[in-house]
Amino acid sequence: MVNTAKKFVEKEVAPVALQVDETGEFPGQLFKRAGELGFLGITMPEQYGGLGLDFTTAALIYEEIAKSLPVLTVNMGAHAELAGGLLNMLGTPEQKEKYLTKLCSGEYIFACGSTGPEGGDNHVEHAANAVLDGDEYVINGNKVLVSNIGVADVYIIFIKTSEVDPITRDGISAFIVDKNTSGLTIGSYERKLGWHGSATGTISFSDMRIPKDHLLGPEGKCMQATAVSCTNEFLICGPVGLGMAEAAYQMAFDYSMSRIQHGVPMYDRFQVTKFKLVKMRTMIEELRAFVYGTLADKDAGNLELCEGRMLKIRGAEVAEEVAREAIQIYGGVGCIDETGVERFWRDAKVLAIGGASIEALQDFIGTMMRYGKYPLA
């Protein structure tokens, strides 16, 4: 399985990775290939075209891809883990037959819009709303910072259908929206610090009428399922952060061995360089143990929701710190795009926010701890 990912990365991803970062274009061909190779339905049920495999396998594949082109894991994660996770958890058999099979093959690209202009975690104040009118919901408002827009064939959106309970977050519903739905406007792509190629931007709804059977899950009660399906996405951020950290470390190590300073490799000349690399490596090995230990829990059905969030936090933090130090080891040349190391730091910074900020995740964990929901084992 991992060999398939390694070969894909070596032959198809690595040769265009810098180009994707430079142009910021959604890597459509690579996404299509990810579907053909089975990467878009790794944990999905076989009945709907998935492979029915465990999260450890999915993580190993995400880790490999992140070593070369982290944004491809973002494209895949928004599609397969966020949108796919929700469809799998909340969808009716008909919805799964219609959408999940095409999600697994990559025939349809999916996006998932939850963040409102009022805040990613601030669902209570979200203004976008849906009102039932006969057999249709009429939706108005917008979602911001949504990835895979424009290229997506289907959008899963979170919309207020009644006042939102600040504790349970009941009041939010999920809908399946086909790209050609009248009243749906796709905005332009934001220019961003990192994740170049994620096709991120705003989608707006103006009297957009959605048939009742496009409601995904029970009306007003999708947030509990979302807490679980988002956990899957957070989990994947662990191996993604690990892959990014490994790539940045390896580049920095190789550079320190090849860069001659005062007649010897920089690695041998400066103890500080060696120590930096040792620290980077230690963080990587800690993260690896955390990632695959937590995923073993997930696969055994013993995952705590908090642990999924911790994985995203640690994945982003380690990737950011390791990539930052890697740039430092490179010196001036590390700041140049063409070197290809600084993009890992830019992408890691966005990983700490995109999908959920580290602080919002800490807030969730802190609340669970406060109310005795996450005691020490």
């Binding site: 399985m1 060999n3 398939t4 070969k7 053909e36 190779l37 089975g38 990467f39 492979l51």
Partner: protein
């Protein structure tokens, strides 16, 4: 139904070989893999089968370790895996290998076409396809980069030094392909998963009636170290340096 058999060799991954300063080769950390050229033979098999609808199989002869290769081979499409795992493969020369393969092919029902690579990525001796063809008394066409199959007739394009030759041959026959025409695709996860469920047939050297004693013995293997000339062209501007480089390369026969 006719069967197309792809032969492949399980070799050491050349990227894992370490050449010691005394030029001995350290293989202690080398992992095995299907010879890169043989992946093209498997791909050619799948492409021909797509034209003919024939059954497909892989066949390999190696040390008992060769079992590890079966999943990878079958993830590339063929339906059945035949293998001969014997320690004798370690010292087998082309004579022994081709005898084992030809004998094994005789046991595979309905084999009408055998596809090999032109050579294996470790020895590149280019002997197996012609020898297997001779032992089976079937025609052999080598250096093939393209095949069109109509009924029993195969029209093959051969890539020779400086020209392309088109030949026709009737099945049963042996074809040796060059990688150029048959770039092996990356097997998808579904194919990898289903490979584990495909039928396998282990065959024994004794059962095949083969004598494993090689006629040619390898006495030693030494690494080859390319020595750099360390010639640096410093005189003149960039265009002078390029001109000097080109004329030096011409003198060496590297450019014509």
């Amino acid at each position: 139904m006719a069967t197309i058999v792809a032969c492949y060799k399980w070799v050491l991954d050349e990227e894992d070989l370490v050449i010691n300063p005394d030029r001995s080769i350290d293989v202690s950390h080398a992992r095995g893999k299907i010879s890169e050229f043989d992946k093209s033979a498997i791909e050619a098999t799948m492409q021909v089968a797509a034209q003919t609808g024939d059954a497909t199989a892989t066949l390999t002869f190696g040390t008992p370790d060769v079992r590890k290769s079966l999943k990878d081979a079958l993830s590339r499409g063929p339906a059945t895996g035949y293998w001969v795992g014997d320690a004798a493969a370690c010292d087998a020369d082309a004579l022994v290998t081709s005898q084992v393969l030809a004998s094994a092919i005789r046991t595979i029902d309905g084999t009408s076409l055998v596809i090999c690579a032109e050579g294996a990525s470790d020895t590149y001796a280019r002997q197996i396809a012609p020898r297997v063809g001779a032992l089976l008394d079937w025609p052999t066409v080598t250096s093939v980069i393209e095949m069109k199959v109509e009924g029993d007739s195969i029209t093959a394009t051969r890539k020779l030094d400086g020209c392309l030759e088109t030949v026709t041959v009737n099945r049963p026959c042996v074809i040796a392909v060059l990688p150029a025409g048959y770039e092996p695709p990356i097997p998808g996860l579904k194919a990898v998963l289903s490979a584990g469920k495909k039928p396998l047939h282990e065959l024994g050297i004794a059962e095949l009636g083969c004598d494993p004693a090689p006629a040619a013995k390898v006495l030693s293997s030494q690494g080859f170290i390319a020595n750099r000339r360390n010639v640096i062209f410093v005189d003149g501007d960039a265009s002078d340096k390029v001109t000097s480089l080109v004329s030096a390369l011409k003198k060496e026969g590297m450019l014509s």
